[in-house]
């Protein structure tokens, strides 16, 4: 047998990233030809505090073949139609970033061009009414699109989940172990490298146990036990664009309102998340320590809960940025060890999933090609860059001038690529997002228009139909949205009927 064959995969660290990796590898690679081992220590906490996701997670769950209702039940999950942004443009303002599209594309251009034409002609029904997820969120409704989706004019419902990340990790651990992945308990105290290639050959545990491997996946979190502490892969610090560097998190009692969305509320030195689960609500204040102290941030968070706290607040520290190389030698970093972007658009799990998918797509059979490593790193850079620019836009495009934090972000210099997008958007109401980008036109429109950037014009093709035809098309689209939403049930009763957890609080 070729001694370069990649047979033993060692995942360092449990948590969401570790177990998502273990589960995907044990399903896709299988454990007949590959040993999948995960080393974690119960003494080391995981970061998961309640996690909001984006619809792409369904791809991941589908690869695993998970039963969605079972997954929802097991993780105390609720359904999520988008994110509500409160106070981001200015105090008291709110907008919704939905998972689905506004209207439908027509004649090769986006719906928003038609809407803009109509709006400029005096039409006052705002664009949010042409999106089914937004309307359903308003009505606190949820329902999966029925297999027979009805007439074409009825939009499908795009959704993700809000779940307890530690339960998700536990759920995936059971899944992985059933498929033959092996979990080893213990703290890693030493790493052995091949003196010639520099490849990691084994990690040693406190207990003295030595775990050998051909490929090591670093899911150890912020510290990057292998990727940084062994390989010094380096880190691009983005905190001049995204200055928040702490989060204080606390769960609280559920208000039992069963909002099918995550809420992000802008605060004096950052923002506060609110993630409703079946049994409780996850909350956190993401802030910059330059503008508010840890104690004050925790105190402000506790003041602003809408239910009694269920635990002591827990503070996390991070530096926003990206590992310069996620893959070095035979070590690949996933999750927080590969970089950190604040969970403003719920991208953390997505970035793990993307990395897993790319690794699986490029999975080496024998030996690790340097070209492949470069390609992987380039693609991950692209993913991080896109998300990063989208996040920066939330801070840059604002009218807030009520605190030093907001004055800083409103006036800060931004990446050239983002400035170009904002300019294009201003000129014609679209950012010309590439096919491969995670956030498409609807997302950019929802956020940029929501934050207050009004386009000056729209695509000329929108002018080619008659006024009556325009109104008729918009009426039909609006009808489709209404018909879809009218057919949906209350989010709460949907969960109760399909996927209630034993600890769910139905009030």
């Amino acid at each position: 047998m070729n001694d370069k064959a990649i047979r033993k995969v060692v995942i360092v660290g449990g948590g969401t990233a570790g177990w998502m990796t273990a589960a995907a590898l044990s399903k896709v690679l299988g454990t007949h030809h590959h040993d999948i081992t995960l080393v974690e220590s119960e003494q080391i906490g995981t970061v998961g505090v309640g996690e909001a996701t984006i619809p792409m997670i369904q791809l991941y769950n589908n690869v695993l073949g998970l039963d969605e209702d079972e997954f929802v039940r097991e993780t105390n999950a609720t359904f999520k139609l988008g994110i509500e942004f409160v106070g981001w443009r200015r105090e008291g303002h709110r907008y919704f970033h939905p998972f689905g599209m506004y209207g439908v594309d027509m004649d090769g251009i986006g719906f928003m061009h038609y809407w803009q034409r109509w709006n400029r002609g005096g039409g006052s029904l705002d664009y949010t009414h042409f999106n089914a997820e937004t309307e359903a969120a308003r009505a606190r409704k949820f329902m999966r699109t029925p297999p027979d989706g009805g007439p074409k004019t009825m939009p499908t419902i795009n959704y993700a989940f809000q779940f307890d990340a530690s339960l998700y990790a536990a759920f995936l651990r059971r899944y992985s172990e059933k498929r033959g992945a092996v979990r080893i308990e213990g703290r890693i105290t030493d790493v052995t490298q091949d003196p010639v290639s520099g490849d990691i050959t084994a990690v040693s545990l406190e207990s003295g146990q030595v775990v050998h491997g051909d490929l090591f996946i670093d899911c150890s979190g912020f510290r990057g036990l292998l990727i940084e502490q062994v390989y010094k892969a380096g880190y691009d610090d983005w905190s001049h664009w995204l200055p928040v560097n702490r989060a204080v998190a606390v769960p609280c009692e559920s208000t039992n309102d069963w909002l099918p969305y995550t809420r992000s509320t802008a605060r004096e030195a950052g923002w506060q998340w609110r993630i409703p689960l079946q049994h409780r609500t996850g909350n956190g204040y993401v802030y910059s320590s330059e503008y508010i102290s840890d104690d004050e941030a925790a105190a402000r968070l506790l003041e602003r809960l809408d239910g009694a706290p269920l635990a002591d607040p827990r503070t996390l520290r991070f530096v926003t940025g990206r590992r310069r190389r996620c893959w070095v030698n035979n070590c690949v970093a996933f999750g927080l060890s590969s970089g950190f972007l604040e969970p403003l658009e719920s991208t953390s799990i997505h970035l793990i999933q993307v990395a897993i998918a790319k690794l699986l797509a490029m999975f080496p059979k024998e030996g690790i090609s340097a070209r492949l490593v470069t390609r992987f790193n380039e693609e991950m850079d692209y993913e991080y860059d896109n998300v990063k620019d989208f996040l920066i836009a939330h801070y840059k495009v604002t009218e807030r001038d009520d605190s030093p934090f907001w004055n800083y972000v409103r006036n800060m210099a931004i990446p050239d690529a983002l400035q170009e997008r904002l300019d294009i958007f201003k000129a014609r109401g679209e950012v010309m997002a590439r096919q491969t980008e995670l956030f498409k036109e609807t997302s950019w429109f929802a956020v940029l228009a929501g934050q207050g950037l009004q386009p000056d014009s729209y695509h000329p093709v929108a002018d080619t139909i008659s006024e009556d035809e325009l109104r008729l098309r918009l009426t039909k689209i609006r009808t489709g949205v209404q018909n879809r939403v009218n057919g949906m049930t209350e989010h709460k009763s949907y969960v109760r009927t399909h996927c209630a957890s034993p600890s769910a609080n139905f009030g």
Partner: protein
Amino acid sequence: MTGPVRKVAVVGRDADAWLAAYALQRSFGRRDDPVAVELVELPSLLRPQDAYVTLPAQKAFHNLLGFDENRLLRACSGVYALAQRFSNWSGSEPPFLHAYDTHGVSLSHIDFFQYWVKARAAGLNVPLEEFSLGAVAAKQGRFVIFNESTESFSRATYGYHLDAISYVKAVARAALASGLKHTVADVAQVQCDDGRIRSLRLTDGTVVEADLFVDASGADGILIRRLDADGVEDWSPWLPCNRIMAASGPALEPMPAFSQVSAFRSGWVGQFPLMNRTAVVAVYDGDATDDREMQGNLSALTGMRLEGNAVAAPFTAGGRRRHWVGNCVALGDAGATLEPLDAVQLHLLYTGVAYLVSLFPVSRTDMPEADVYNAKMQAHAIGLRDFQVSHYALNRRYDEPLWDRARDTEAPATLVRKLELFARRGVIAMDEHETFHEENWTSIFVGHRLLPSSWDPLVDATPEQEQIANFQKILGFIAAEVREMPSLQAHIELNSPQATSDYVF
């Protein structure tokens, strides 16, 4: 003093007065040799809870007045109604719709309804309304926009629900812009002479003289009663309710495409969707249920949390034998006072205005047009009354005094004629001047379970298989067409959009 009419004084309040004055101003006030039209506006009786609920004919009225429908609806939170839904009028019978549309299509020149009667007798259990495009669209909250195939199949149309105060404001704005002379005052004295009105003295001392006086003062008929003191026929034996309460609830979502009229122990309660609220009306027997009790029951009867106060006022159904007496024409409620049922509000006004415009007196002295006018108006008023009475006469709420009495009271002869012929063979005995058509009468008669015992014998000439196939074709056609229609709410939102807001979620 002979010669043409030079001056018309319209005395009245609210929609009756403004619509009448504006219509006359548009028709006669803008000619080269204009007739001077003056509106003496009496204090309004409208309350924020009030709404006007109209028949499809109101669209023609608005066209006559040159209103842009979309702008008008926007101004008064207006909503289209394709039908009225009646519930609880007959024990446990399911609710039925009176849609402004026909049923099915004729086959071999015989009305569809005749085939339905026969099929029903043979065991068909599809309600008549399922064969009406308008009714099915209404049930599904749709707005009918005709295409080539529906155009020949259906005559679906719509009436309006209009917020009363803002509607009157919108009409008044247009009327004043047209140069209508307008005085706000009360009438202190009506000077009569030889069966005619000579002049009015207003509370501010002004004297208003005119050749023709239009009484649009509402049920009181403050001018016409001076010429014809005993001219009102009491209709309360047939329309026994004597109180009307108005209230307001939250806007309904999704927006229904129909009015809802639900009977209860001592009357009925209506819910009329508007864009920004739901107008609620109760018409009841105040002797059986007092205002306090009525107010207490209103939430339960409507199933909605009411906003603000409910307000009540007395009511007596009745109509004048002559709407035009001497040089005075009573328009709207001054001519006949009907319940706000079947969307007849403002309809008699429109009919009166239309006839007055076409029969406008050529001479200020003798007005021979009055007789023709009166015959037509009385026929219309009686037709509307009978339509309302039929709900009472055909009710099946047993052991409730109001409803038992309503059933036991001998219906007016004009209605008895219709009921009897219909019960025998499903044909409506139509009179010359009627507002409602055969399909309207048929809808409510069948809805109230008055089912013909026989049918047109010519129906038997068509083989049963062919009839069944025809029924199935119609049902399939309606289902497919309605599925493609826009929703009523979307249609309103995009055609007469309401005020915009910055609040985007």
